[in-house]
């Protein structure tokens, strides 16, 4: 035998051996490993979970695991979660979480199970961990522990009525200043339409307000202190509250996404700055399908820094069966399931799904869907997850931001008073460890 043939034979046997080993390893992964077990899922009642749970039967058939679902409206779900976790109960094996809001807090309290080893060892061969949005994975990592897997990507986007814009001679806004100019023109042209609607409900408005703040070059904290009274922050407070006060619907201080989407869908608003995953709700019934344009918030003095967040699905640190729970988590965030959810309007946090031909076909069916995907691409590449202060007490910081904006909408305080009061309260909050 020549050296060449020996080398060839050796290489071939090595390749075959490794192929057999990896095939054996892949064959090691058995979806039915935890057949007969029951995994309990504490879910939020929003479009993401609703769409996921439409395919619940698929999961149960694939794995033989029974899925018990407890679904609540967002704040009630959070309260239930806090109660269950404080009691160290194993009642919820898997739960939905929003890293941008509670990630730091829950991680510090030790409520998340570390998913890093699971993503390396017990994972299906087609899971494509590397294909997940690195930005969202980073946002869910605290002290080196991966706390949740991203289910979707979302952020506030500007829906606008192309037909009303045409009628009133308004161009697509290219800067934040253009939004105010457009609103003014539309109010003069058609007083029966609400020119601009966005969130005014105190705990909900930081989500949309943060985008204005960042686009206008402001930031919540500078050198460890609250910075709401800096010139750029004051400008953002003034712009956002003025838009809602002068051009928003009556009673906007109570408005969050349910009322906003209802108003826009009914054709009563010209511009709607709301979450991208409200697309299915807004398009329900088809009335707004043909006359809606969609862009990320136009840039301001600070450029274009869209708010980008994603819901995550996490395993409870107190679960008695984290491995079975992980099977549900990886199924829910697998490319196959995210592809199914994508064509129902839940934006996938995977570029591979976004490039998938079935999804592309769905996107290309309607111009507004193309614009939606284009806006999400901007969010995925340029986005920040900072909604509220980057501290553990993030939810409470949003309360003070909300109070400041609301007092301006209701004309109860001047901008200087509102920002000073908020800064005082927030500095006290930051100082609390």
């Amino acid at each position: 035998m020549t050296a060449k043939s020996v080398a060839a034979g050796l290489t071939l046997s090595i390749i075959t051996a490794s192929a057999i080993v990896s095939a054996a390893h892949a064959a090691d992964f058995d979806w039915k490993k935890f057949q007969g077990k029951t995994v309990s899922f504490l879910a939020n009642n929003n479009p993401v979970s609703q769409t996921l749970l439409k395919h619940k039967a698929d999961f149960e058939k694939l794995t033989g695991i029974t899925l018990k679902v407890d679904m609540y409206q967002e704040q009630q779900m959070r309260q239930r979660l806090v109660t269950v976790m404080n009691a160290h109960s194993d009642e919820a094996d898997v739960f939905m979480t929003l890293p941008s809001r509670e990630g730091a807090q829950f991680a510090a309290a030790g409520w998340y199970a570390d998913l890093t080893p699971m993503t390396k060892n017990e994972v299906a061969p087609d899971y494509d961990y590397a294909g997940l949005s690195q930005a969202l994975l980073k946002a869910a990592t605290y002290n080196g522990k991966l706390t949740s897997m991203p289910m979707n990507i979302e952020g506030p986007v500007l829906y606008y009525r192309t037909d009303i814009f045409k009628k009133c001679g308004v161009d697509q806004p290219k800067t934040i200043g253009d939004i105010e100019a457009a609103a003014k023109k539309i109010k003069a042209c058609d007083p029966s339409i609400t020119p601009f609607v966005s969130r005014g409900l105190k705990p909900a408005l930081p989500y949309t307000f943060s985008n204005f703040l960042h686009n206008m070059g402001g930031s919540y904290m500078v050198n460890g202190k609250s910075a709401l009274c800096t010139p750029k922050d004051k400008a953002a407070l003034d712009t956002y509250s003025h838009l809602l006060r002068a051009y928003g619907p009556p009673g906007v201080v109570n408005y969050s996404f349910p009322q906003i989407s209802a108003l826009y869908r009914a054709g009563r608003a010209a511009m709607d700055f709301e979450a991208s995953n409200e697309l299915p709700t807004v398009m329900e019934g088809g009335a707004r399908l043909k006359d809606t344009g969609l862009i990320p918030l136009p840039p301001g003095d600070g450029g274009q820094v869209p708010t980008t967040i994603g819901w995550g699905i996490a395993v409870s640190a107190y679960s008695k069966q984290p491995d079975a729970a992980w099977y549900f988590v990886q199924w829910a965030t697998s490319p196959a399931v995210q592809k199914l959810m994508a064509v129902q309007g839940i934006a996938p946090p995977r570029s591979s799904v976004a490039d998938d031909p079935t999804y592309r076909k769905w996107i290309n069916e309607q111009p507004v869907r193309k614009e939606w995907q284009a806006a999400l691409d901007v969010l995925a590449s340029k986005g920040t997850s900072e909604v509220g202060y980057p501290i553990v007490a993030n939810p409470q910081s949003r309360e003070f931001i909300g109070q400041a904006v609301q007092s301006l909408i209701l004309k109860e305080k001047t901008v200087d008073q509102a920002c000073a009061d908020a800064d005082k309260a927030l500095d006290a909050l930051i100082a609390q460890k």
């Binding site: 806090v82 705990p203 009673g251 109570n254």
Partner: protein
Amino acid sequence: MVALESPAIRKPAETFGQDRQRLELAALSAPAVLFTVGMIAFPVIYTVWLSFQSFSSTGKQSFVGLGNYAHLISDNEFWHGLWVTLALYLLSLVLQLVFGVWLALVLFHAKRLSGIVRSLFISPFMMPPVVAGMMWLVILDPSIGAANYILTSLGLPPSDWLASPTFVIPTVALIDSWQWTPYVALIVLGGLQSLPPSVYEAAQIDGASPFKTFQRITLPLLLPTIVTATILRSVDLLRFFDIIYITTQGGPGNASNTLNIYGFRVGFEFFNIGYASALMLTLTAIVFGAVLAFNRLRNAVAW
């Protein structure tokens, strides 16, 4: 030295039998009593213990004694919450008592009342508060709600309803009164039906007008029933939560931030369980105090 057989100590047979019966009854009801006491006492004691602790955002716990209560006294939000609670309580109570008594009188004097009408009267308070809240949130939406539609078609100016800092408390009082006036009416109706007819016959003979009859006879005799209804409603109204949480979450600003809403948010949204416990115990004390005061009043107006 007392003889063992002295008559003062030896019991007659009957009382001994009675004691034994009491012991048996006590033994049989002991599990239920223990369970009830445990279910009520344990959470209260635990809450008291929690109110002496302070919880940081990361969940670190430390004993602060009366620190939470001291913070409560200096907390503007607490005093504002107390004011909102009392304002909402008084407004709702007056509305419900006045219209409840009126409705009870109407029902009492109605010759026949079909089952459908009776069911309609009962249905508001049978509705879960969440359903009622969501229903009114839609009806009272300033842009697409039915309420403003009706106002504008009658030529009246539209209102911000739940979004107005000035009108949110009266609006919430109206929603609660819509729900619970029939309940008050039913209680007062029961009271009306138990009034002695002899007094009315005497009044009629003496030639008293219907208004005088109502003012001098019906109302004073109804006072115990009305105070009972007041106690029952007070316990709920002082802890006002459901409607506000569904509709405004304490807003706009903090115009509808009752003590219960405030305590709930402090505990479950900001995770400051210690301070929330102190707030809730204060609220419990207020409710308790009100019930004790009204009980005294009821004894005073009893006949």
